[in-house]
Amino acid sequence: MNPRRVRRRVMNGVMTGLVGVLSFLAVLSLILILGNLVVKGASSLDWSFFTKNPVPAGESGGGVANAIVGTGIIVGLACLIGLPIGIGAGLYLAEFGSGRLGWTVRFVADVLNGTPSIVVGIFAWTWLVKPMGHFSALAGAVALAILMVPMLARTTEEMVRLVPHSLREAALALGYPRWRTSLRIVARTALAGIVTGSLVGIARIAGETAPLLFTALGNLNFSTHVLEPMQALSLQIYQYATGPFDEWHRLAWAAAIVLMGLVLLLSVAARWAIRQRHGAAR
């Protein structure tokens, strides 16, 4: 056989093998993490783990009910603050963002997107926790919302930009005013994409620990008061994992499974929403 052809074939084989191994490594990390979590934490997952609050150190048993509820409240509040601002900003950027203001907003969003989450935590501590005089779930939610807004703004913008220009023209030619075209036709067509972006954003902030360290702080008791310190799953994991007791480590693994499951659930929901969108676009 022609030597050049042989060389091509060998090269092709080597490269295909290489990318195969690399993609296996990428998947492997997820498998290892999940496997490790299940092995070390699954045995601690029982009914009381979900329904009971933590017990004092040294005692066995107890659960993380307060942390699960706390994560729900903090993330929910963050969504309440972050979703309207993020999606609104994204719509603005896509529809009217061609000028200087649009450029500025986009630049700021990109910088914010790259800001380490602990810096956002410190910011929330300086502007909310210090003036209020105490840690609170609200401060934690604000910190998470700040993380969420730039992400949402950019994904919403992308999704809205994907809506074909011809649809916008069709609506305008029918006598739709500009604002109604934006909301009724463009935003609605992009809705599945926006929902997906939101779910990914929520999944991303649900597991954050650093911004909550000096804002929501954590709480050993069950609390639903948003102006008081509140426990969250990520904080609970952090505290248990860095603590000295074996029982705590066991609980940390279990809490990690719950948190991971939550994030996975959101990602799957996002996938589903994407499928809906492509289904609708066909």
Binding site: E169, A171, A173, L174, G175, P177, A280
Partner: protein, 258 residues
């Protein structure tokens, strides 16, 4: 050209120039579209015929850098007058685009009703009746009557285009602008749309931009030939195709360029 004496002047462009920034793409065009006629606008690609059409419902000014000089009269009223709201105007001058543009999130029914609902609140029965009337006029009713609530995207390309025509007809415009409406359709779909043009002109004034000379000859009463932004010639379709007065027109329709 000499329109029949009984034809009410429906739409008229007067010394219309359309520009993108400082570049004129339609130059000083004056033309009359008599009521209840079909006028075909022909010419090679990039000759400004689509831009011209978009001036007739003030869509051109929505394009980046788009503006016009001169004017367009609809029933004698200047549509570029300060008092005219372009949004209201577009409800009187409907438009169908080159590619079907059904709203993907809406059902067949909602697509047709879209232009009615934006006109303000109407009773359920009114909307039902108007949707059926529009779909019948667009020759689509029999094919979709059993699935009005289904997604408009389930229709074939030709059906989607007729749906867009129905959507444009539903608010009862006076003028219908068709921008190469059959460009993305197969011959059967094309034939349906052409037949429609014949039927619709009893109720509307139609301006159709087309690349297809046979189509222009088949559907239109009048034909206007555009070349690089100029209106070269306009006249009764048979006359323009058999005895053009301008050399450029003859060269184009005999296929020597364009």
């Amino acid at each position: 050209m000499a329109p029949p004496a009984d034809a009410r002047l429906q739409l008229e462009a007067v010394r219309l120039t359309a520009l993108y920034g400082r570049r004129a793409v339609v130059k000083d065009v004056s033309i009359i579209f008599p009521a209840h006629t079909v006028t075909a606008v022909i010419g090679p690609s990039g000759c400004g015929k689509s831009t011209f059409l978009r001036c007739l419902n003030r869509m051109h000014e929505l394009s980046e850098g788009g503006w016009v000089t001169g004017t367009v009269l609809l029933d004698g009223d200047d549509i570029y007058a300060d008092a005219v709201d372009p949004v209201q105007l577009r409800r009187r001058v409907g438009m169908v685009f080159q590619r079907p543009t059904p709203f993907p999130t809406m059902s067949i029914y909602d697509n047709v009703a879209a232009g009615l609902r934006v006109n303000g609140h109407r009773s359920r029965a009114d909307v039902d009746a108007a949707v059926e009337r529009a779909l019948r006029r667009a020759a689509l009713w029999d094919e979709v009557r059993d699935r009005l609530r289904r997604s408009a995207l389930a229709l074939s390309g030709g059906q989607q285009q007729r749906l867009c025509i129905a959507r444009a007809l539903a608010p009862e415009p006076e003028v219908l602008l068709l921008d190469e409406p059959t460009a993305s359709l197969d011959p059967a779909g094309t034939q349906r749309i052409e037949e429609l043009c014949h039927e619709l002109k009893t109720n509307y004034t139609i301006v159709i931009v087309t690349h297809n000379l046979q189509q222009a000859a088949r559907v239109s009463d009048y034909t206007a030939f555009f070349y690089v932004g100029d209106l070269v010639e306009v006249g009764r379709t048979e006359a323009l195709f058999t005895t053009p007065t301008q050399e450029r027109t003859e060269a184009y329709i005999t296929g020597r360029f364009g």
